[in-house]
């Protein structure tokens, strides 16, 4: 019973909806960017031209195409159509219009497209956590903040007579914490898996320096500086890896550093004060391996957003800005529906609380009000 209470307290403690909404913007924004950079006709056309024997549909692909059979191979035109539908619905998920529904469809579409690409015996790692994050957000009230749905709800409440201005950073829900925690634990398990496999396959020899030199030089020769992972490879462009890969001592230190980082990342989840250190090291780690080895794990850096208390960040930012700027004052008339709606709209997007709202119309315009703006 005590265990059950501790479980509930851990996952379902009230937390700011703002953080969840912000992570929705980051995760959906990242996936939209990823999709928008694809050239669907070329990518899916190349896959469609591959022989049938190379098509080994993943379980999730079999499930998604189940009505057509367990080994159904969707034709190129169908996949391209799903791509455009997914991209379109992703824009709705981003702005938060019918958020739960649009995010569920966007997640399903993204999983379908990625699973199709990976059903030809080539599976990569960087996108898996993005898919899981989208799914978790779709199951949560991620549209209850920073969304068109939320804004519409607030404006309607104002129309019905609720004339109090709100603080969009303060709304809490007991369902706003678990999706972010799940993704945090996903990161911990992923990094542990990476450390586990290195130690299982190679023991401490993995940190001998030669190993990292080998991988840096191999990737440097394959991809060069300009190729991003799937091109013809063996680029003629010299890579920074060919220079860094010469330094054995540096490689040994970096090997120990990455092993230490991967095997202890879970501490950042258990002890949140350590989080800033791990996030900084992690960001440097992923940016470095991207530029040196073209290992495209930048999605991880974006999704580190799940670790950040964004409400606190924006509040602190607001205090800092307020200390250096004259904050504009916005007067609104609580008796006027239009005035309240305008004030609410400004308040909704003023995440740092820069604007001061005053529920009255100033009687006269004086010198102190030269920076003020007035409704109507």
């Amino acid at each position: 019973m005590r265990l059950l209470r501790a479980w509930e307290q851990y996952w379902f403690r009230p937390a700011p909806l703002f953080n969840l909404g912000f992570v929705r913007l980051v995760a959906v924004g990242y996936q939209l960017y990823h999709l928008a950079t694809l050239r669907p006709r070329i990518l899916f056309g190349e896959l469609a031209a591959l022989p049938e024997s190379l098509y080994q549909p993943l379980v999730v692909m079999r499930v998604l195409t189940l009505p057509f059979g367990t080994r159904y191979r969707p034709p190129e035109d169908v996949v391209v159509a799903i791509y455009w539908l997914t991209l379109s619905i992703g824009i709705l998920a981003f702005i938060g219009w019918f958020t739960r529904f649009s995010l569920l469809l966007f997640t399903a579409g993204s999983v379908f497209l990625q699973a199709f690409e990976y059903s030809f015996t080539e599976v990569h790692h960087a996108e898996a956590i993005v898919m899981i994050t989208l799914a978790m957000l779709a199951l949560s009230p991620s549209g209850a903040a920073l969304s068109f749905d939320d804004l519409r709800r607030r404006l309607r409440a104002a129309d019905r007579g609720g004339r109090e201005l709100f603080d969009s950073l303060s709304d809490q829900s007991r369902f706003a914490r678990w999706p972010l925690l799940v993704v945090q634990w996903m990161f911990a398990l992923i990094y542990l898996s990476a450390a586990f496999h290195k130690l299982l396959a190679s023991g401490l020899d993995w940190m001998n320096g030669w190993t990292l030199q080998y991988y840096m030089l191999m990737d440097g020769m394959r991809w060069g500086n300009t190729v991003s992972g799937a091109g013809p490879a063996y680029s003629a462009e010299p890579s920074v890896a060919l220079w860094i890969g010469q330094y054995h001592t540096l490689a040994t230190i970096a090997s120990w550093g990455s092993m230490l980082f991967e095997s202890t990342f879970w501490l950042a989840v258990v002890l949140p004060p350590l989080m800033p250190v791990y996030l900084l090291v992690g960001t440097a780690f992923h940016v470095a391996i991207y530029y040196i080895q073209r290992a495209p794990f930048l999605s991880f850096v974006w999704l580190y957003a799940v670790f950040v208390p964004w409400d606190d960040v924006f509040r602190r930012l607001g205090v800092r800005i307020a200390g250096h700027l004259d904050r504009p004052v916005r007067h609104y008339d609580p008796a006027s529906r239009r005035s309240v709606r305008k004030a609410m709209l400004i308040r909704y997007f003023d995440w740092v609380g820069l604007t001061i709202f005053s529920a009255r119309v100033p009687p006269v315009e004086g010198p102190a009000s030269t920076k003020l703006s007035y409704p109507h």
Partner: protein, 145 residues
């Protein structure tokens, strides 16, 4: 509601834990990515030592006119990774059926029929004093006559 969500949370974490530590292959004899997006992360796991060869593979085809051509991933309609992970291993294990399939793709693209394909290993040796060229070695030949 919290009970249902608790089930979701537990399922996600159990699946990722099982995938992370290779429990799927032990339980179902299936690769760890079988339940993608739940998968393991074993990249770059093999240790290497001084003297190891950083290999580059060259795939060479012999046409029916006895002309030798270097074959690239595009010739087989593949990207580099699939070329490296599917085509070259197929040649190295002398899987005639799969190699013939790639030769057929080449014929459709170029109009030339291949009667043989071989893989050569080139590369550099990792030494304390930098990279030294490794002597080329022929790894496998597949006859398609």
């Amino acid at each position: 509601m919290t009970r249902l969500l608790s089930l979701v949370i537990a399922a996600v974490l159990v699946l990722q834990t099982a995938a992370s530590f290779d429990i799927f292959p032990k339980l179902f004899s299936r690769p760890s990515y079988v339940l993608w997006p739940f998968m393991n992360y074993p990249m770059y796991r093999t240790a290497h030592y001084e003297g190891t060869v950083i290999a580059r593979f060259h795939v060479l085809g012999q046409t029916a006119e006895r002309v030798e051509v270097e074959l690239t991933p595009e010739d087989f309609g593949l990207n580099f990774r699939k070329f490296q992970d599917i085509a070259i291993p197929a040649i190295r294990r002398r899987d005639v059926a799969q190699v013939a399939m790639f030769a057929e793709i080449y014929r459709e693209k170029s109009g030339n029929r291949l009667v043989g394909i071989r893989v050569e290993q080139h590369g550099d040796i990792l030494t304390r004093d930098g990279l030294r060229p490794a002597p080329p070695a022929e790894l496998a030949t597949v006859s398609l006559r």
